[in-house]
Symmetry: C2
Subunit: 338 residues, 2 copies
DNA sequence: GTGAAAGCGCTAACAC
DNA sequence: GTGTTAGCGCTTTCAC
């Protein structure tokens, strides 16, 4: 293992019979502008190629005080939406010669602090975060040290750069549609009430009811958290309380939906005529027994904007606008009888 | 942005009125063994804490010629199995103070070369790869430079360190069961015939037929590739050829199954009595209209062994055994009538 | 046109 | 007990 020792610029220089400085110029393609003799240049390049010279990224990072690395912090990489987003972002990074570091928080604010500190100590040039925190004070402070972009979730009136999907509009439209079919019973299952996705989607839910002329009943709104099991429990409790499955349910995120589906699978409810809708899409929903309407985020756009923001911030530019809101798409699967 | 300039060990030393060397000793917790005065030590530590001193990882990496970073290369992070594996591996790495770099190849050998080179140039200490290559010559060569562990897929007689799930045994058992129910028609949809998962799972398929006393018909075996669309196309062609859906199908990986399900969804076949089975599990399969038997890999074990191997290799140890084969679990969902 | 030297932040040998 | 120094690999003035 590790037989071949690294070849350094000093080695290349010596082999080519020039100084480190000259070799450096040539290898950085600045030989033209700084008038290095063509013959010298070719010699250096030949040696470098022949010995597979690769610059030490550590030496460079140390010198430049730049790691060409950015961090991505997400709640769960096993969540299809975040995986898709990560993939898109990784592609953008690779094309730009930037290395992406990915860490998961498991929806746990304590762990979020750990992984973020970890990335800071790794001297990432910037940080892109889908935070599980309730407020942005930590990030506000951190953003004095390095560029931060929040996405997917946003905090109360945060002024930090951020990219989110507009949840309210599509939720309103979808919920209004469902409410017209089931004006007497439509439940909202959400995560922590203080997290922005919950608040926004609940707002959309309320607007949807209003739009359909349906009066909200307080018991329709149920809060839990975004842990996988929470959707299951909320739905189980609801079924127990009603003595039957509800007529219509909107879940605020795919994790919650997952729990609901698990319960339904275990209790043979998948063939029922319950109307189910959710934020977040998944390709397997096309193959489920039950037709679920969903709201699909555009992860490619999301990733692009995050990358654009963080890149500009790192370069010291001031991107405009600093906060971006993207459109989602309704994915309708439910077919109204007749 | 970036108001606060980094504080270095030199700053700490000066503020504490000691030399860099002393400060370094103290900060690395080696003050006891090298008899630094307690008073000095406390002073240094106080200053460091007060100014939030954080060592420069780049300087350290440069000096130690170690990045405390390992690379993970997977075909698709959006594939649930790989996402789950990545998550497990990331947790292990974090606990060990190692940073994990993740890159995707999109099942494309050319891109695999790119991302691997990328990681090498990032000077990762080791590399864990689920390769889409047909042979291991590239990795054989690369392993002279740095430790490599292959997982999930293995190449022909490769002697490189690797961790794989035993596909043959569970596939045989599952297929034998299906073959007893449908001795006259059971199809195998696989990826590239030369990739190890395809070969192993096909071998298990054949053994399963033999075990059930069923004679294999050559037309039952269909090869495509592991791209999402391939399963769809193979299955569509099969349905077209038969003029009806097949009675029983085994797909060699979840990507292929995804394609089959998409076709079935579009053609209202999800309620049919076709028997479907596959390698790789997904939590949503519990909620599908059709009951799919699957073979579930143990990603936590898989990640643990990869981490164990790469860690030991990096430390210069020779792990034993160098190649590991783990057991999978049958996830039965199909209920035989009666 | 090219080379010598300094410095990025850190640690380890070796003085004192 | 503590300080001095050299060196990890690279780039960038500034001389020559």
């Amino acid at each position: 293992m590790r037989k071949t020792k690294r070849i350094t610029i000093k080695d290349v220089a010596e082999l080519a019979g020039v100084s480190k400085a000259t070799a450096s110029l040539v290898l950085n393609g600045r030989s033209k502008e700084l008038r290095v003799a063509e013959e010298t240049r070719d010699r250096v390049l030949a040696i470098a190629k022949q010995h597979h010279y690769q610059p030490s990224i550590h030496a460079r990072s140390l010198r430049d005080n730049r790691s060409h690395t950015i961090g991505l912090v997400v709640p769960e990489i096993t969540n299809y939406g975040f995986a898709d987003f990560s993939h898109e972002l990784e592609t953008l990074c690779r094309e730009a010669g930037v290395q992406l570091l990915i860490s998961c928080t498991d929806e746990n604010p304590g762990q979020e602090t750990v992984v973020v500190n970890n990335m800071v100590s790794r001297q990432v040039d910037g940080l892109i975060v889908a935070s599980s925190m309730l407020n942005d004070t930590d990030y506000q402070k951190l953003s004095e040290q390095l560029p931060i972009v929040l996405f997917d979730r946003h905090m109360n009136d945060s002024s930090l750069p951020q990219v989110i999907t507009d949840s309210i509009t599509p939720t309103r439209e979808l919920v209004a549609d469902i409410a017209r079919q089931h004006p007497d019973e439509i439940y909202f299952l959400g995560g922590q009430p203080r997290l922005s996705p919950t608040r926004d989607r609940l707002e959309g839910f309320k607007q949807g009811l209003a739009q359909a002329g349906v009066t909200l009943r307080p018991e329709w709104i149920i809060h839990g958290n975004y842990h996988p099991s929470s959707g299951y429990e909320m739905f189980a409790a609801l079924c127990a309380q009603l003595g039957r499955p509800p007529k219509a349910v909107f879940t605020a995120a795919c994790g919650l939906l997952e729990g609901v589906l698990r319960y339904m699978g275990q209790h043979n409810l998948l063939q029922s005529d319950m109307r189910l809708a959710s934020f977040d899409d998944h390709y397997l929903y096309d193959s489920l027994a039950i037709s679920i309407d969903t709201i699909r985020q555009d992860n490619r756009q999301l990733a692009w904007h995050c990358f654009d923001l963080i890149g500009k911030l790192i370069e010291g530019e001031t991107p405009d606008p600093l906060q971006r809101k993207l459109d989602a798409t309704l994915q309708r699967r439910y077919k109204t009888a007749g």
